[in-house]
């Protein structure tokens, strides 16, 4: 415990100057700082869950089922009598892992494919467009379910099935951007100074597409959280006895009409906060990296 607290202190002492330097860079810096704080707070809370949660999040009948928030159960209990506060504290782990992993896989696949296809054009572009459009034509959740069924349970498999659904979004956004950037005078000028194809893609096209990629990534992240929740709900995610906001959300949704608001409100708020944290970071980063907005 001693070692843990000293590294924590170390991390914290590094974080403060980072945040203050960010705050000095205007609104974009504030966005990043706030987003960063939110995400870090949620991650730390999830990591420390075994020590700070008041009850075992998976133990049933800790109290009377569906009891409203009280001093004993500040967030109430759910249908199985599990303590909602403990479930909220420990339920983020899977979700964060799946969402982050799926965003990374998506970017690693979608960005190079999009750049290659739209820059070279021709038959390759036609074929890739056709494939991407046919993936896009499926409802996202249905496709993710189908792929998750094939791959089986597990964090990586969930992330993979969500990634497949999202690759076409990256592809489309990048393609539409590249098609217009390709015709810009500075790309023509790069050709006229004898620049090679890969230089044009890496130095002229990609840096101009990054802001759009970040925007897609934040939307992707928020959606990945919800899709992950859906997969968990139908039993294709991880095991049901691991506490998960997504699972609580999808189960609690059916109870909302019966005035049992607490089973859905608290995990819902956490999902929103997590998605918001990432969105703020994304917004801030895309603004910070845009040279046109630099003072």
């Amino acid at each position: 415990m001693m070692g843990g607290s000293s590294t924590k202190k170390n991390m914290f002492s590094r974080l403060v100057p980072l945040l203050t330097s960010l705050a000095r860079r205007g609104l974009a810096g504030w966005f990043i700082a706030i987003g960063l704080i939110m995400v870090i707070a949620i991650v730390v809370m999830t990591m420390l869950a075994p020590w700070i949660s008041p009850h075992d999040p998976s133990a049933i009948e800790m109290g009377p089922p569906l009891s409203p928030p009280s001093s004993q159960f500040p967030f109430g209990t759910n249908k199985l009598g599990q303590d909602m506060l403990s479930r909220v504290i420990s339920g983020g782990g899977i979700m964060i892992q799946v969402a982050l992993l799926s965003v990374v896989i998506c970017m690693a696949g979608g960005v190079p494919i999009g750049l290659l296809s739209s820059y070279t054009g021709g038959i390759l572009d036609r074929i890739l467009c056709l494939i991407m459009d046919s993936i896009y034509a499926f409802p996202g959740l249905v496709l993710a379910i189908a792929i998750a069924l094939m791959l089986g349970r597990g964090v990586v498999n969930m992330a993979l099935s969500i990634a497949v659904v999202y690759v076409p979004s990256y592809f489309r956004v990048i393609r539409s951007q590249v098609l217009s950037i390709k015709e810009m005078a500075y790309v023509e000028a790069a050709n006229a100074i004898g620049a090679k194809g890969h230089t044009i893609v890496s130095r002229y096209i990609l840096p101009n597409v990054i802001p759009s990629i970040i925007v897609v990534a934040t939307v992707n992240f928020a959606d990945a959280i919800l899709t992950a929740a859906g997969l968990t709900f139908i039993g294709l995610g991880v095991s049901v006895d691991i506490p998960d906001w997504g699972y609580d959300l999808t189960v609690g949704r059916t109870l909302l009409t019966t005035r049992v608001w607490w089973v859905i409100a608290f995990p819902g708020i956490m999902v929103v906060l997590l998605a918001l944290g990432f969105t703020l970071m994304g917004e801030g980063l895309s603004e910070l990296w845009n040279p046109r907005l630099e003072q």
Partner: protein
């Protein structure tokens, strides 16, 4: 004798260049049978209205005619080497190093996410990989002094510069590798008149200092008349008049060139009436039979409608594509 001289003796020789755009609706001849020469320290003005093929002519010299355009026939030789037979790899070396290009719109010709200095480093290192970053920056600073921008602005992003400054940056980039030919495609259209004159004078003085040849493509005859040594007037893909600028100004021959000259305001003729050329340029998918200009020409004769006139050499350094001058041919 402008045409058909020995290719070796000129810096740039273009012979019978024809460029077509192969569209779905048919083939468009944007440049047809163009021939001209260019020597060191010479300025060639190429004048014509939109769609006359002047930009296509410029781009074909570095083999960057946009799709679906292609060079059909003709030879382009630069310092005795035939550019048309060069492979892509060799061509890349020509672009930027031996022939550089200044584009029309300085506002979008610079990469918005790169600082100005990175443009220079990239350009110089593309062609001379052994040059270090500091050496490249030193050269860039020298170029900045030459084109008249404060050196510290090299650390700026393109959007932090004004249009005139950006065009100066483009010119500095074009000169960075000391090319033999600089092609400036409407370098001043996007700028206001005062900046326009400054940029053109800058180009001219740098041309002399760096000992290069300049091709100045423009739709405005007035800006090339005093600044170039010879002028090509283009109409609907054809060279209609090719003369030294003195000849073109003192004895304008083609009716189209005359029309262009009459449309330039003259400060000394207070009550001068500016004349416009009636009509509009032809659709190049279905060009008129005979001379391309006859539907708008007030001197049109029956033969103009049936057969296209060749270039008549009316005197030394003066070629004109018009039947009015077929009897004045200067036989030497």
């Amino acid at each position: 004798m402008i045409e058909q001289t020995n290719a070796e003796s000129h810096l740039l020789t273009v012979n019978g260049l024809t460029v077509e755009y192969w569209t779905r609706r048919g083939k468009i001849r944007a440049v047809e049978n163009a021939s001209f020469t260019l020597d060191r320290r010479e300025t060639l003005g190429v004048v014509g209205e939109s769609g006359s093929g002047k930009s296509t002519l410029g781009l074909s010299l570095i083999k960057l005619v946009p799709n679906p355009g292609r060079i059909i026939t003709g030879d382009i030789s630069l310092e005795g080497q035939n550019i048309r037979r060069m492979k892509d790899e060799e061509m890349r070396d020509v672009r930027g190093r031996r022939i550089s290009y200044v584009f029309q719109d300085p506002m979008t010709s610079l990469n918005p996410v790169e600082k100005i200095k990175d443009h220079f480093v990239e350009l110089i290192q593309t062609h001379e990989p052994k040059v270090s970053k500091t050496q490249a920056l030193e050269r860039a600073n020298q170029l900045f002094r030459d084109v008249g921008i404060q050196e510290e602005r090299i650390n700026d992003y393109p959007h932090q510069l004004s249009g005139g400054m950006r065009q100066r940056v483009m010119i500095a980039l074009a000169l960075a590798l000391n090319p033999s030919v600089v092609i400036a495609d409407e370098p001043t259209t996007a700028l206001d008149v005062i900046v326009q004159a400054k940029i053109l004078d800058l180009l001219n003085s740098l041309k002399n200092r760096y000992g290069m040849a300049l091709i100045l493509i423009t739709h405005d005859l007035s800006i090339v008349l005093q600044r170039s040594d010879k002028i090509i007037v283009m109409y609907a893909g054809r060279i209609v008049e090719y003369a030294s600028s003195v000849n073109l100004y003192s004895s304008t021959q083609h009716p189209y060139s005359q029309g262009l000259l009459k449309s330039i305001p003259n400060i000394e003729l207070a009550d001068q009436k500016l004349e416009a050329i009636e009509g509009s340029p032809p659709d190049l998918l279905n060009p008129p039979k005979g001379c391309r200009f006859w539907p708008r020409c007030s001197f049109a004769m029956p033969e103009c409608r049936t057969e296209e006139p060749p270039l008549f050499e009316t005197k030394k350094n003066h070629l004109v594509r018009c039947y009015l001058y077929k009897d004045e041919t200067n036989d030497q």
